[in-house]
Amino acid sequence: MTTQPPRKLKPKDFATDQDVRWCPGCGDYAILAGVQRSLAQQGIPPEKIAFISGIGCSSRFPYYMATYGFHTIHGRAPAFATGLKIVQPDMQVWVITGDGDALSIGGNHFIHLLRRNVDVNLLLFNNRIYGLTKGQYSPTSEVGKVTKSSPLGSIDAPFKPLQLAIGANAGFLARVIDVDAKVMSEVTAAASAYRGTSFVEVLQNCNIFNDGAWEDIAAKHVRAAATVHVQHDQPMIFGTEKNKGVRLVGLTPQVFTIGEDGLTAADAWVHDAYDPDLTRALVLARMEGPELPTVVGVLRQVERPVFETEVRAQAAAAGTGSASDLQALLVGRRSWTVD
């Protein structure tokens, strides 16, 4: 990053004059506000930031950010982000994508971005539906989902995005609920601080085509009992009364009540976000109701070599050629002269 001191910035410094055109009540509004707030807090000036998106409702995001922005083509935003980071490594790059964009048409680019560990922050708005094309099942829709294109229910087994990312050896994994402002700012701050691909799954509602997409987890009255907010070095304790814990028996997570069966808060699994082994991250990513709470927060932040840094290092090691080196390359190894 550039060395200039952080500028005093407000969330509105990141807002454009364009009318936001998401449906009223869409979860995207909360995410937009959360990201603008978070960027203001981190103090990186708008000209050093680029938002890149593909196609879908979420992909309109760059038009509403007063930074550099590129609304590209369906599924390919990670490929654009990779190209940009290679040539402009000092820009902070955000990829905004959805479940259809990142996991269906763009599945290939998504996994390759993660495996290379390009330094971008990728927010995947997962509403388990195709919104912009007006309501077809997506690669994260649950089996049996009745939509316009699956009148008898979807028979496709869904992806779990975090699990897929683990398969690509992602170094940074987080999950957040769209309307959870507190975890949102914690996660976006950690994502932008992380050097490498930060993958954030945002559980998002689509109140038009998939209202209640995450009702079992996200609804205010169930959230405390249905989710556990993991934080590094902290025990996994959750519940309305903060009286539930998650413990690890072998590699099997189990929920217990503090004070029952001789178990205390000290028996809870203490989260290690820096664990280089992927096994426990996979256990966390797979936890879901009704038996287990869904994990939100930063699941993993493990350092890995950063792609564009390595690219640049190879180039630097090759040295700097001059005009005469170019002329020599043109002449080649074997030449002759005509007088």
Binding site: Y68, I73, V87
Partner: protein, 622 residues
């Protein structure tokens, strides 16, 4: 001195076409390349045509595994690797079977007789060994059977190489023999072997022994009673020359353009035959401010290239037809966002996977029209390996001056072919105007990315990271000037017109079309791309025979030069030869009124001069 040598004679020839043919593993491309080098350094003009199978190593001895390298060297200026072959060097029966049709009557046929075992003879489809005494199938040629395996073994009897390693050296025996036969200076090749095998001294020594062995065999055996001399060509334009392949020429042209525009060069690419060598070459040039990215697929390569253009690089992608098909949607985005880049399509036989290692000109309409919507972009084509340098340079210059993606068409023939090339001084290359913006001073009320230069209609190229120049690009239609999203009907018409007018305006960059021959007459041959050499040669030969024929070669396919409209009516008939089913002809027909016809042959091989002459004759007669 023995009798044979005293009675041996030397014959002077103006030009010779040799084809080396053998198994994919026989090193025919290397042998041909080395002989080419010896020829250019001897002062000949050369044109080459490597012809190899898509399979890396098809089973030994099969017809599918035959790899060939055709070389035309001459003491006068030449433009093609030659129609028919004067000398065929066949390393096995399959190579003979596959290449005999190209050998002219009474041509020299040098065969590795050791490879004519009954098994290999049968695999090649011969009913009996054509080298057998009494067999008349080869009587129309001058046949020279040489025991290449045995002679190579004899030359290496004192080395510790395994018999397999020994057999692999036999191409150097053939090379040495050909050098003797055509009076080539062996010292050039000795130096080459010493450089190439520097790190493998065992092979270096072995190859040198065999190379000399082949040369001495020619000298000492009584088999060859005539040696041939192809004198040096008349000295051309003074300067430094080298032998250059088309793929490397494109890489060099792009680096030169990046240097002259003070831009780093970025290549986003995905491996594909026959374009991969450009990626290989550029990936070795990091010290010259070149970054290459091998993407996960063709689409990602295109997208990374667009992003690099946005990030102020000279951005390039290289591919072939199937890759172009995949890149189409992203190219549309590049058109919409008006970013400068060069898209190189090294064409191959199609459709689908087609003929990956063969040449064709069948992606012209794909380049012009292969995207959704009205998405015009400039298209130009290289005409020969050396010319690919200039074509790539020009593509980059126009892209940056006009803020537009440019498609450069090459093909398999240009990509792998080679010719002598006069090396330009980088400082003498045309200037490259870059429309870059590094401050917001002219935009007190906010930056408007779609303001346009009144002449070129190019929009500015804002330097990413500059305060005050933050802007949003995308594939949705833009408002004129502001670049905001717009669904306004009149604005869409206006922007559609602007995109077209910007590309059409590139005609102002073109010099008057060059006509070989008279400015008017009976027939005008109109060509584009790699058929240049064959069309030019056929035209010249027909003119020598007294016919009224001229030739016009198109560098630009979009836009077409403005002066075609006045040139075409000056000729009785227009002949448009192409290695496709009439794609340029279709375009010309849609834009110009003329009397004429296409000549099309889609066989995966370059057009033949004799065929073209016959077609010109037909046009003359009609």
């Amino acid at each position: 001195m023995n009798l044979q040598q005293t009675s041996r004679r030397s014959e002077k020839l103006e030009s010779v076409v040799i084809r080396f043919a053998g198994d994919s593993g026989d090193g025919m491309q290397l042998t041909g390349g080395q002989f080419t080098l010896a020829s250019v350094l001897a002062g000949n003009d050369v044109a080459t045509f490597p012809d190899y199978p898509a399979e890396i190593r098809a089973p030994t001895g099969t017809l599918a595994g035959v790899s060939g390298y055709q070389l035309h060297f001459s003491s006068s200026e030449i433009f093609t690797p030659g129609d028919s072959v004067d000398v065929l060097v066949a390393m096995n029966p399959a190579a003979l079977a596959k290449n005999l049709p190209f050998l002219r009557e009474n041509g020299l046929l040098i065969v590795n007789s050791d490879a004519f075992t009954s098994k290999l003879v049968k695999m090649a489809g011969f009913e009996s060994n054509p080298l057998d005494e009494g067999d008349t199938s080869l009587e129309r040629y001058q046949v020279f059977p040489v025991d290449l395996n045995r002679l190579t073994r004899d030359a290496l009897v004192d080395t510790d190489l395994s018999s397999k390693e020994v057999d692999r050296c036999k191409n150097f025996f053939a090379l040495g023999l050909m050098c003797w036969l055509y009076e080539r200076d062996l010292s050039v090749l000795v130096e080459e072997v010493e450089t190439q095998f520097r790190k493998k001294p065992r092979y270096m020594n072995a190859n040198l022994l065999v190379l000399n062995g082949g040369y001495n065999y020619g000298e000492n055996s009584a088999q060859f009673m005539t040696r041939y001399e192809v004198p040096a060509a008349k000295a051309g334009v003074p300067g430094t020359y080298r032998n250059l392949q088309g793929n490397e020429a494109i890489g060099l042209g792009l680096i030169a353009a990046a240097h002259r525009s003070n831009k780093p060069l970025f290549l986003g690419s995905y491996p594909i035959t026959p374009a991969s060598d450009i990626l290989h070459f550029l990936s070795q040039q990091k010290a010259l401010d070149v970054l290459t990215f091998q993407a996960e697929d063709e689409i990602a390569a295109m997208c990374a290239t667009i992003a690099a253009a946005w990030g102020n690089q000279l951005a390039v992608t290289t591919t072939s037809g199937p890759g172009m098909a995949l890149k189409g949607e992203a190219i549309g985005l590049a058109v919409m966002t008006e970013l400068p880049m060069v898209i190189v399509n090294v064409q191959r036989g199609g459709p689908s996977t087609g003929l990956p290692t063969k040449t064709e000109q069948s992606d012209l309409l794909q380049a012009l029209y292969g995207r959704n919507g009205e998405s015009p972009l400039p298209v130009l084509a290289a005409r020969s390996p050396g010319d690919a340098f200039e074509a790539a340079y020009e593509a980059a210059r126009i892209a940056m001056k006009y803020m537009v993606p440019v498609i450069l068409l090459s093909d398999g023939f240009i990509a792998n072919g080679a010719e002598p090339w006069r090396v330009p001084d980088v400082a003498d290359l045309p200037e490259i105007a870059v429309n870059e913006l590094d401050n917001a001073d002219d935009f007190p009320d906010g930056f408007h990315p779609y303001t346009r230069d009144p002449v070129t209609l190019a929009r500015p190229w804002p330097k990413l990271g500059t305060p005050g120049l933050e802007h949003r690009l995308g594939g949705i239609e833009k408002w004129d000037i502001t670049g905001h999203i717009s669904y306004d009907p009149e604005n869409h018409q206006h922007m559609t017109d602007q995109r077209q007018a910007r590309v059409d305006g590139i005609t102002r960059e073109m010099p008057p079309s060059e006509i070989t021959g008279d400015a008017s007459g009976d027939v005008l041959v109109v060509s584009w791309g790699s058929t240049y050499g064959a069309c030019l040669t056929a035209t010249r030969l027909m003119r020598k025979e007294g016919h009224s024929v001229s030739h016009l070669h198109l560098r630009w396919l979009n836009p077409l030069p403005a002066d075609l409209a006045e040139i075409f009516p000056r000729f009785g008939s227009i002949l448009v030869p192409e290695i496709n089913n009439g794609q340029l002809y279709t375009v010309l027909r849609s834009k110009l009124n003329f009397v004429g016809r296409p000549y099309n042959r889609v066989a995966g091989v370059p057009l033949q001069i004799d065929d073209l002459k016959a077609e010109i004759a037909k046009s003359l007669a009609s």
